[in-house]
Symmetry: C2
Subunit: 445 residues, 2 copies
């Protein structure tokens, strides 16, 4: 029996491994799962008759090559920085590879060699990147095939707590890597609006939000992502006058988060002296000018020009940033201190479920009329293992693997899923897993 | 005749080389001046009987070693990143070295070896660092010797245009490296105020100014420098509750400059697409949200919350940032574009003279009373060659070189001029060159 090799069995692999095992007889493959922790790998494979587990060290080249040689498709769910090690071995030893991560320049460099050898290196087939590519390209190709001209494309995604479990004033809990949330946006955001390049520095990012409604999931606000411009080439929209990608949060999140940005509490470039012995109140005070008479709350309000009775202040107070609680973390950067506090406050409770929300907006012109298509997705987690994040990252990877083994996906080389013969069958099967985009069209004239 | 080797004959070496030549008979040394440009070296040496010039390439190791071997003291006025190459060769070949630049970790590492060999590596003996160290240490040592306890030390320096030639609404012209002015402050400023650590991110830096008056030079404002904390150790002020170092500008400069900081126009981390074909008006517009109806001026005012009739706007308009003038600079970062514009507007006219302003403030407690000493310096340039910057950087280096050769300075190893036996004779002779600190003392109770 040939093997599918899955490297990395963390949270994002749960739904992936389950799907691969469930379908293992269909494409006649064993699933061999390697992780740094044998226990985690065992938990995910759960003694399935077609499953195997092993302890895996990505930096052990001998082991990496041996495992890759014994598989015909390799799925890398490792931290992104390790993918290229796996990819290079795959091409060397004539194996195909599938990942949910961005194409790095190292992986891009393997394109010619992979094509020559007739290998597939399919990347960016998780949720964002992944489902966003496929669902956007479906609409873009449809508009183009009707002869429409696309005038504007805006696309945004957010990972949030499901509304039923949304019970804090930020309407946010960590459903993924907390660090990424704390340091999000710390390089300039670039996009085009009506033909004009726009550059948004970090200090303005959380003021530059747009409101939107997504199906019955309610209201959201979107702040711009760093890189919207490269999607022109990826999606074949080279001359589009407006393109903007963003991240979704609930309304009010950004203006409160912006207080941390403005005072410098998200900075990760230096360490706070004596951080373990300071309180969170001291931490906030360290960003404010010295003033003997005013309490920290009032100094902060004056400094960032907000009202002491405002909703922004309610959100900040709820986090406990004004409390005399010791940080207890030595040699920490502001971002690390803030993350520690947020991990206590924004943790999912044991019964909480998460939610992935995505919306594309396409303005286009056809037969002299301007129209708007919105394509929206809301996916909620099933439980604490099969979270919305795990489902939307893992299921597309798993489906693509199956379709490749069944000969449906015939592409070769380093690709992302923007081709119709890839996205069409994957999107179709995703619907069986509750990943269904709702498209709505309205006239703009 | 033994030689003093001067490496680098740029603007900051003018007064240095003149002093060395003027005093060459006194300490019986020839002055050998090397620069990338033989012409520049010749101009500075001006056929003096004890002067020699040569074309110098710092990256030519053979030449570097040969020249160093033929000297007994080496003065490096090269760009700071090259000092360590010179320093390493000096120690290897038993030569002494003097520079006006900060002690790098590479140079620090040479301390033991230099001491063993009985060599002097004197650094930070220009203006800032240099004159600031010496003049501050003089007062610190005096207060300590009286038994006073220093409660607060604030020190600031600025290079500006002399008041007689100050004729633009920013009250500023470039008197030194323009790039350093454009990107100034782009990492967090750290200081202590009344025993509390304070951290100021770039986006708040130009709001955190303090006003001060310096002698008859008038009013200034000071924004915090990146690193005030390390001066505690340098100056023996380990437990001081307040220490702050800053940069001086004329009042109003910072709030107008802050507009560029807020919109992101000083960012040097990415390139503006198609920059050569944009106008300065387009450049400013690229930082502002799209809006069909408002002119760029109004959009900017709304965005950064300033009045269209304000002095801030007068300063911005005077720079020409709203004009339809082509930038004409390909592949440029925001900081590079802004620098290009400012170099046109903030250039010194051919008759203009510059000015160096420095002020230290010391609060101390003695016999139950709190007192304040201010120590202030104003130096104006003599002409376009012997600028205030060239005088204040070069003359202390030159005096220290002479005092070393005459056996007055006896220190060995890697040092900065904080010792009394170094700063006292140097400060004394500096007075002959118009570099005179005015000390004033007042009671605070």
């Amino acid at each position: 029996m040939k093997k599918i090799l899955v490297l990395g069995a963390g949270l994002s692999s749960s739904s992936l491994i389950k799907y691969l095992l469930d379908h293992s007889d269909e494409y006649n493959r064993g699933i061999r799962v390697g992780d740094m922790s044998l226990e985690i790998a065992q938990k995910k494979v759960n003694n399935h008759k077609n499953g195997e587990v092993f302890e895996f060290d990505v930096l052990n080249e001998q082991q990496r090559i041996k495992e890759i040689q014994n598989a015909d498709v390799v799925i890398s769910m490792l931290p992104a920085r390790f993918h290229h090690l796996v990819a290079e071995n795959c091409v060397e030893h004539n194996k195909n590879m599938i990942t949910a991560s961005y194409v790095s320049k190292e992986i891009k460099a393997l394109n010619e060699k992979a094509k020559e050898k007739g290998l597939l290196l399919l990347n960016e087939i998780g949720v964002d990147p992944g489902i966003d590519h496929m669902s956007a390209m479906k609409v873009i190709d449809e508009i183009k095939s009707k002869g429409g001209k696309i005038l504007a494309f805006k696309s945004s995604t957010g990972g949030l707590v499901a509304p039923e479990f949304d019970n804090n004033p930020w309407n946010y809990k960590f459903t993924w890597n907390p660090r990424n949330v704390v340091v999000a946006g710390q390089s300039v955001a670039q996009y085009i609006d009506h033909g004009k390049y726009k550059y948004v520095p970090y200090s303005q990012l959380f003021r530059r939000v747009e409101r939107m409604t997504v199906l019955d999931a309610g209201e959201f606000e979107m702040y711009p992502n760093r890189d919207s411009l490269s999607y022109r080439e990826t999606y074949g929209l080279e001359n589009i006058p407006t393109i903007l990608r963003g991240t979704l949060r609930r309304p009010g999140y950004s203006e409160a988060w912006n207080v941390f940005v403005q005072i410098g509490a998200t900075d990760d470039t230096y360490k706070i002296e004596n951080s373990e012995n300071l309180t969170y109140r001291d931490f906030i005070n360290s960003f404010l000018p010295y003033n003997l008479k005013d309490p920290v709350e009032l100094k902060l309000c004056n400094y960032v020009k907000i009202d002491i009775e405002s909703e922004i202040m309610s959100r900040l107070k709820w986090l406990g940033i004004f409390e005399e609680t010791k940080i207890g973390m030595p040699n920490a950067s502001p971002a690390q201190i803030l993350q520690k506090l947020l991990e206590e406050k924004w943790a999912l409770d044991s019964e909480d479920k998460d939610m992935i929300v995505m919306q594309h907006q396409f303005e286009y012109r056809l037969n002299g009329k301007n129209k708007l298509i919105t394509s929206s997705l809301v996916v909620k987690g099933k439980d604490q293992v099969h979270t919305a994040m795990s489902i939307t990252v893992g299921i597309p990877v798993a489906i693509a693997t199956k379709l490749f083994l069944k000969g449906v996906i015939k592409q070769k080389g380093v690709i992302v899923p923007t081709m119709k013969d890839v996205y069409e069958p994957v999107l179709k099967e995703l619907e069986e897993y509750g990943i269904v985009f709702i498209e709505e069209e309205t006239d703009l004239d």
